[in-house]
């Protein structure tokens, strides 16, 4: 008998579908309360860092160059006070086979699927991860379906997303496109159920373990070139994987003093699941619409427990504007001679400002670049914005209003970052944990929440009391 495919029925079967589609039982890591064994889950991949390097190198993934962005560094120094302006470097993740760092995540997930006898893989993504999974599936001989949130109800899609669909198809995948809504995961679950393929989730331990090599390489390349670890690594943040994996890799390399900053494009005010607002944004990833909710509550993804837990690792979280990202992308091409992004350059726009706060002898690395192509480029994205009634003009980034305008900084001196309040995000995570699981957390829960928020046990206890009083 055919299974009922209404929303509630499919979501009701999520647990059993996931167990089969992920090849692991998440119950093994649960405590029955707030806490779960995160490190045990991360070890469940069965891959050590060395094995991941081996799996990745078999398909030409990783060992990407580190570019020193000399002209952008000079530009930052010209804007900074004397003696300030760290050297800005970019890890050229565009050099991966599928054109982004996502190849690292896909390599491990697809290798695991292959080893465990799955015939194919499915990923729900409108981003670069689609091409990465498609590329790895082709290399490793598996079938691949990418489920993409692609259009509004008038079948209009962002050029950036259309290009990503094209790339997936070019690499042999089936691309299932749907209209805007959180039902992206509903359709992915339904397809997993019908095909019995592996869920190559962005948020599984494989998806995160694969990024650890990136952090590790950054540390090694900085030591080789500059004789020291990077002072700051800036990661573009959406689902939290880049921050988590890069920070873990830096730690595995012993770069314990390197700070990890997250950067997102500020899209405050735009509802990510809104049909009307879907095409009012001019960048489809790396923004606060994903970054903030996934940081404050990682377990909202398509797996029972997300391996991306960015609040554990971020030392600072800043936002930039769409106009700043578009502008720095143009400058990366014309000043540095490399055409990359735009969305992946969110960290670069932030780095341009942060470098100015740092002394000249310090090193700042942005953890990725991504490929550029038709649709996925400053010009079509700004042109699309104009076509959708968004005002594009020069001005002060403080005038930025997501969904209304894209403000290109009048001059290099107008770039600025805004700090998000990480402390508030930590409180939000603790509150959500208490209200989801229990108001009477165990000692183990408190220790877990301390790890989740990078706070001490005492600090967490104090915050729990405050939160409970306010409830």
């Amino acid at each position: 008998m055919a299974l009922a495919k209404d929303y509630a029925s499919v979501m009701g079967r999520k647990g059993e579908v996931m167990k089969a589609a992920l090849g692991m039982d998440y119950d093994e890591f649960e405590s029955g309360s707030i806490a779960f064994d995160y490190e045990k889950m991360m070890r469940s991949t069965g891959f050590t860092l060395e094995e991941i390097e081996r799996v990745q190198s078999l398909t030409g993934v990783g060992n990407t160059p580190l570019f020193e962005l000399r002209n952008l560094t000079a530009l930052a120094r010209k804007c900074a006070k004397p003696g300030f302006g760290a050297t800005i470097c970019a890890k050229d993740e565009c050099s991966n086979p599928s054109g982004s760092f996502k190849a690292r995540r896909a390599a491990c997930a697809v290798a695991f699927a292959k080893k465990n006898g799955y015939k194919g893989v499915i990923a729900a993504t409108s981003g670069n991860y689609g091409a990465a999974v498609a590329s790895q599936a082709a290399m490793q001989g598996l079938k691949c379906i990418i489920v993409q949130e692609a259009f509004d109800s008038k079948e209009v899609g962002q050029p950036e997303i259309i290009e990503k669909a094209r790339a997936c198809e070019a690499l042999g995948a089936e691309v299932v496109q749907i209209t805007v809504g959180p039902e992206l995961f509903y359709e992915a679950i339904s397809l997993l159920e019908d095909t019995e393929y592996f869920n190559a989730s962005l948020y599984s331990p494989f998806g995160i373990a694969g990024i650890e090599t990136l952090g590790y390489e950054i540390a090694m390349q900085c030591r080789e070139r500059f004789g020291k670890d990077p002072d700051v690594v800036v990661c573009t943040n959406a689902g939290g994987g880049m921050v988590t994996g890069t920070a873990r890799g830096l730690r595995k390399a012993g770069a314990n003093d390197s700070k990890v900053y997250a950067a997102s494009i500020d899209l405050t005010g735009l509802h990510m699941a809104s049909d009307n607002q879907f095409n009012k944004k001019s960048c489809t990833t790396g923004h606060t619409g994903f970054g903030v909710p996934f940081a404050t509550w990682p377990d909202r993804s398509d797996v029972p427990r997300s391996a991306a837990r960015p609040l554990r690792y971020m030392d600072r979280y800043v936002t930039v504007t769409q106009g700043e990202v578009m502008c720095i992308t143009e400058l990366l091409a014309t000043f540095e001679g490399i055409e990359r992004g735009p969305a992946g350059n969110t960290a670069l726009a932030a780095a341009f400002c942060i470098a100015q706060e740092m002394p000249e002898d310090q090193i700042l690395v942005i953890s990725e670049t991504e490929y550029t192509g038709a649709g996925k480029h400053v010009q079509p994205q700004l042109d699309f914005a104009r076509d959708n009634g968004i005002e594009v003009r020069f001005g002060n980034p403080d005038e930025d209003k997501p969904g209304v305008n894209v403000i290109i900084p009048e001059s290099a001196k107008d770039f600025r970052v805004k700090d998000l309040d990480i402390n508030r995000m930590r409180n939000s995570l603790i509150k959500k944990a208490l209200t989801t699981y229990t108001l009477e957390p165990t000692e183990e829960d408190v220790k877990f929440l301390a790890e989740e928020t990078a706070l001490t046990v005492e600090e967490v206890k104090a915050r729990i009391e405050e939160i409970k009083k306010a409830l």
Partner: protein, 99 residues
């Protein structure tokens, strides 16, 4: 007529209005959840017919036939004058008037 075996695009309503996820915002709830995919047409048909296709992974999917030999038209976009203006302004600021 579209011949059996042609590469086509189909669309299908997965969740009609009234059956969408409860957490959807109101404007999204007022629209159906629609899906598109591509595949080889299983039987001769006309545009607008309900058809079966075999997709790139070998899966059979049903839906309304919308396009034959579908292709991409996304591009590098129309000219955006601000981009050349960025280059001029920022270059002048960094390197001065005469490079």
């Amino acid at each position: 007529m579209v011949k059996k075996g042609e590469w086509v695009r189909i669309k299908k309503v997965l969740l009609p209005v009234g059956e969408r996820a409860p957490q959807d915002p109101e404007d999204t709830k007022a629209t159906p959840l629609v899906m598109w995919t591509k595949g080889f047409l299983k039987e001769n048909a006309e545009i607008g017919d309900e058809v079966e296709v075999v997709t790139a992974v070998g899966r059979t999917e049903t839906g309304e036939l919308t396009e034959v030999n579908p292709y991409y038209t996304h591009s590098y976009g129309k000219f955006v004058p601000e981009l050349v203006e960025i280059d001029r302004r920022y270059r002048e600021f960094l390197f001065g008037g005469d490079e």
